[in-house]
């Protein structure tokens, strides 16, 4: 159901033990909304490239000596100067 909603990297991480009844189990889930999505979703080679790019993108924009907002503003300035189409 998470994947149908558009989430990627869906993980059922673990049980917590706080079950509300004998018929249920408490679980922890996480998922992510990818930055770039729905491109070439049926082509494994494209998916692989996209996942690698996604990982590169997140590493570049991770909080560091410069915060995320500053990095994005620099990138915006650079792309405007370079005349990048949206």
């Amino acid at each position: 159901m998470l994947q149908k909603a558009g989430f990627k990297e869906v993980e059922q991480v673990t049980e917590t033990g706080f079950d509300s009844s004998p018929a249920t189990q408490a679980m922890l889930f996480r998922a992510r909304k990818l930055v770039l999505f729905d491109l070439g979703k049926n082509d494994p080679a494209v998916q692989d490239a996209m996942a690698t790019y996604q990982s590169f993108f997140e590493t570049v924009y991770a909080e560091g000596a410069l915060d995320r907002k500053t990095k994005h503003l620099i990138a915006l300035g650079a792309s405007l100067a370079a005349g990048c189409e949206p």
């Binding site: 159901m1 149908k4 917590t16 079950d19 509300s20 018929a23 408490a26 922890l28 998922a31 992510r32």
Partner: protein, 202 residues
Amino acid sequence: MEEKITQKDRTRIQAGIRGKYRKVAQSPGGLFKYPTGRAGLEGLAYDPDQIKRLPEPVAASYCGVGNPFSLGPVNPGDAVLDIGCGAGVDTLIAALMAGPPGKAVGVDVVPEMLARAEENRRLTGIENASFQQASGEKLPFGDGSFDVVISNGVINLIPDKASVLKEAWRVLKPGGRLMIADQMLADAPPRDPAVRIDKWAQ
């Protein structure tokens, strides 16, 4: 679950949930099969420093089924949404982690829970948290408003789960994360729809 839930069923489910959580808003003690309050927070391995930060009445109001914060960080500056915030303990913890540049917003459908959340906020003095009445099925926020969406023991109570997840996806920024703790059915649901609706908020 392929069987459709009728509007009449929905009304019964909502009434059942509101009835139960009206009591929970006063005190969750004894109303759940698992520990609540400070014992619940400790049992689920919340950060001890964060637990210490909560005044006794705030900690006592906690009734979650997992620690969503164990699934990933809340970074300073993040905007966090808590779907089904109840008395707001997770929302307040998220607000602490996001710090003043960030914020945490909790939504819930039970007015008594929201009132308790506001009271808890007042007791902790946390300013970057807010609460409003809304259902996870229809969130009153624009696309891409939040870095993180959390939910703790709530989606199991909501009839239209697909809508909640789609809404959570919609309000997340690209790159945003969903961190949920919830109850899963371990067996097949009861066959009799009347029994199933009765057991909804068990």
